[in-house]
């Protein structure tokens, strides 16, 4: 195990009603996922602005995952439908600009799926770690 084993920094936007509750449930069941995943609570997945995602990458995040309620379960009826459209277009554009598409992901996690939340975070952290540091969307000034 080298000393400075590269650990990806992952920002997770979790919607307050479902995926944040799923994350809490993962905690209740003491399920383990990497500590590099940091969760930001937003009222609904439709609150996440593409600017936040680009801001996270600029500040040094290596992967950004957006969790919301399953389509149809959204507490605000249509929030996650808009997220789905916005992120489909944004991810397609990022891929178009040549940025690795595995760095961004949208995942639907309900309040009852603690296990799925932990598993998703583990899987996403592994994928992002495999990609290595975010070289294509980084702002050198923010690097230590």
């Amino acid at each position: 195990m080298q000393v400075n084993e590269y650990k990806p920094l992952i920002v997770a936007f979790c919607c307050n009603w479902c995926s944040y509750a799923g994350a809490d449930l993962a905690g209740n069941n003491r399920l383990n996922y990497p500590a590099d995943v940091k969760i930001i609570r937003v009222p609904c997945s439709c609150r996440v602005n593409p600017m936040f995602i680009l801001r996270a990458f600029q500040r040094g995040a290596d992967g950004v995952i957006l969790c919301g309620c399953h389509p149809g379960d959204c507490h605000y009826t249509s929030g996650n439908y808009y997220t789905r459209r916005r992120m489909a277009l944004l991810f397609s554009m990022l891929d178009y600009l040549g940025i690795e598409k595995e760095r961004t992901r949208v995942e639907w996690v309900s309040a009852a799926e603690g296990a799925k939340f932990a598993e998703t975070m583990n899987d996403f952290a592994k994928t992002v770690a495999a990609l290595g540091e975010n070289k294509r969307l980084e702002d050198l000034r923010c690097k230590k």
Partner: protein, 664 residues
């Protein structure tokens, strides 16, 4: 610059176990804006809250960050604490360092480092918080109960008792639900009808309760305190207010061959029918798929016979729009279908029945008038085999059964066994069980009486196969304690089928935006602390729609749901959620992109005169948010290109500050 206080909670060892709370408190001291940082054993305890109050006064803090458990648990608590100390409750931020840090990361250094980062993110956010005051919205003093079983009835009665008007919407022609189909109820063996029908009569006579039977909810709009519900009253072809329920039409109706759902298809009824004698409302209903008049236009006997002239063949489905302050879901359960369990030959022999069918057979109003006879040849069964856990406790991915234990089968099987042994002492009763689960008051004693006094043979082991031979049913099962394979020639096999939520629950959940678990049971706000509320404000859960439970529990939960509804309806004003959208007039283009994405239609436009930057005045169309209707989802803030629309409590700048603090 804000003056921020940071309070790190040990939560006993839940947090302190894998996070060095002292180090977190220390690290936060140097954060910009932080003037006080401490840690304590139990922040949410009275003593913990006093520390916060004292610190607010002493350091005249303008904002506090509590690093503790999930905000979904104690955000409200700490907001009350802040309010009590004179600080605006929305200047409080919670860093979730328990469920999302100490409980999921085992090593202390990693847990501590993450806790510090999460705390810094919360500090960065609170630095940009502004004091918010929640708006208010009126409360419609009327409740809606969806589902007319014992759960719905009990909830409606309790709410009406408190003086609030209630509407019950029931899909069947009468209220009563599954309990009306039962014969006796455990553990006291008093007859279901005797304890249910008086309550149904109370519902009918209570002027505060209105029953929409043979109806269903098709659309739910609005939000807590101001729900707008559309109810579809299916055409009954009988005028409810005129029909006296004399039943003459049901006798005279020529079409007699309709399978009677109330008796689960074991006998027939006429096309125009009253489900059972004590039905409420006691009104006939014409079944459109079997009525000759409606299908082919010929016949019309019932309208000729009806003395009151209540028959109306031209009736159409009616849609009623109503406003409600609270909604209680009581959609109840159904036994699962037995087709997939062909090892028990349910579809091959009529003598293999489910427990609910046995209830009807033993019920006086049932197809056999109360004497237990075999459905195939109406003979008296001498050997009866009960099979427990059919479809319950199955493996998750098998689409056949359900993963959970259905909770009520052990008790009602003991009841059936006891009643049969008591009424027909010459019958041998075998019960194949995996474990007998009879927790609860007088439950286990009930089960022991069935074994000891009534001599029911309880066999620990599962039935492997039931094969009909001649008029006997060869049951082959293992007797694990004896260690032999048991072969019994039974006359009747009763399967204790698993129960699942009513099919109408899933579409209803989507309408109510209430969340459900993978088995379609409604998810409660908190399994232990708030079992009768749904996370969606204003929606309450009563009965088996929330999970398998027996009648005593259902009634107690119905009462709890009613008390919650009463608590809500007795308020004149509901303090709304202050984290609502707000548009900056100077920057708004008036392009109505936000109006299109708002799920609640909370945004309207007004023409206003503005002093433009280039010294001209211009009338511009700008967005205005109705703070009572807006629920604060934030879809409009992203749709708005110029960032004029922002969400109080989750401002763009605040979220970006959190991102910066996390990625530092």
């Amino acid at each position: 610059m804000q003056r921020i206080g940071v309070f790190v909670c040990h939560c006993g060892t839940n947090i302190a176990g894998t996070v060095d709370v002292k180090a977190v408190a220390e690290a936060l001291k140097t954060e910009p804006g932080v003037v006080f940082s401490t840690d304590y054993q139990y922040m949410c305890s009275q003593a913990g809250q006093d520390i916060i109050k004292k610190a607010i006064a002493e350091y005249n803090l303008t904002g506090i960050v509590v690093c503790s458990c999930s905000p979904r648990m104690h955000e409200a608590t700490f907001r009350k604490t802040a309010a009590a100390a004179g600080l605006n409750p929305y200047m409080v931020e919670i860093a979730n360092i328990r469920e999302q840090c100490s409980w999921v990361h085992k090593e202390v250094p990693i847990g501590t480092e993450k806790a510090i980062i999460l705390a810094k993110a919360a500090v960065a956010k609170v630095n940009l918080n502004a004091p918010l005051t929640p708006g208010e919205s009126p409360v419609t003093k009327r409740a809606l109960v969806i589902g007319g079983g014992i759960a719905g009835i009990q909830t409606a009665l309790d709410i009406a008792d408190a003086g609030f008007p209630v509407d019950i919407v029931e899909t069947k022609p009468t209220i009563g639900g599954k309990m009306a189909q039962l014969d006796k109820t455990f553990p006291t063996l008093d007859c279901a009808a005797c304890i249910l029908t008086p309550k149904m009569v109370d519902v009918a006579q209570n002027d505060k309760i209105r029953v929409f039977s043979y109806s269903e909810v098709t659309e739910v709009g609005g939000f807590v305190g101001n729900f707008e519900v559309t109810i579809k009253r299916r055409a009954r072809y009988v005028k409810e207010d005129i029909c006296t329920g004399c039943g003459l039409c049901t006798e005279k109706c020529p079409q007699k061959k309709v399978p009677n759902e109330f008796n689960l298809g074991m006998d027939n009824r006429s096309a125009i029918y009253i489900p059972f004698a004590q039905a409420v409302p006691k009104v006939a209903t014409i079944d459109p798929n079997h009525c000759m008049k409606l299908k082919t236009g010929k016949c019309g006997v019932c309208s000729k016979v009806c003395t009151a002239g209540a028959i109306d063949y031209e009736a159409k489905d009616e849609f009623v729009k109503e406003k409600y302050g609270a909604i209680v879901v009581a959609t109840g359960f159904n036994p699962i279908s037995m087709e997939k369990f062909d090892e028990f030959a349910y579809s091959q022999s009529k003598d293999v029945i489910t427990s609910l069918e046995l209830e009807r057979l033993m019920n006086a109003a049932g197809p056999t008038g109360g004497t237990l006879l075999r459905p195939s040849d109406h003979e008296h069964p001498h050997t009866i085999v009960f099979v427990q856990c059919v479809g319950s406790r199955c493996e998750a991915c098998a689409e056949k059964g359900k993963e959970y234990c259905s909770k009520i089968c052990c008790m009602y099987t003991a009841k059936h066994a006891m009643l049969i042994r008591d009424k027909y002492p010459d019958t041998e009763v075998y019960v194949f069980y995996i474990d007998v689960r009879t927790p609860g008051k007088n439950f286990d004693e009930f089960y022991r009486r069935a074994v000891e006094e009534y001599g029911v043979h309880y066999i620990k082991g599962m039935v492997g196969k039931v094969s009909p031979e001649g008029n006997k049913l060869k049951v082959q099962g293992s007797d694990l304690i004896y260690g032999r394979q048991l072969h019994i020639d039974a006359d009747l096999v009763v399967l204790a089928a698993a129960i699942e939520p009513d099919k109408s629950a899933r579409p209803l959940a989507t309408m109510l935006t209430a969340s459900m678990d993978t088995n379609d049971f409604f998810t409660e706000a908190h399994p232990k602390l708030r079992p009768v509320e749904s996370p969606t404000a204003g929606v309450f859960l009563s009965g088996t729609c929330q999970g398998p439970k027996d009648i005593p529990e259902t009634v107690s939960q119905a009462g709890a749901a009613a008390s919650k509804v009463i608590g809500l309806l007795c308020k004149d004003k509901l303090t709304g959620n202050p984290c609502v959208a707000h548009s900056d007039e100077m920057m708004c283009n008036g392009c109505s992109t936000c109006e299109k994405v708002c799920p609640y239609g909370a945004i309207s436009y007004v023409d206003k005169e503005f002093r433009m930057p280039d010294r001209t005045t211009k009338v511009r169309r700008v967005a205005v948010v109705n703070e009572a209707v807006c629920q604060g989802c934030g879809a409009c803030t992203v749709a708005c290109m110029s960032g004029a629309m922002d969400l109080k409590g989750f401002m763009n700048k605040q979220i970006m500050a959190e991102v910066d603090a996390i990625c530092k």
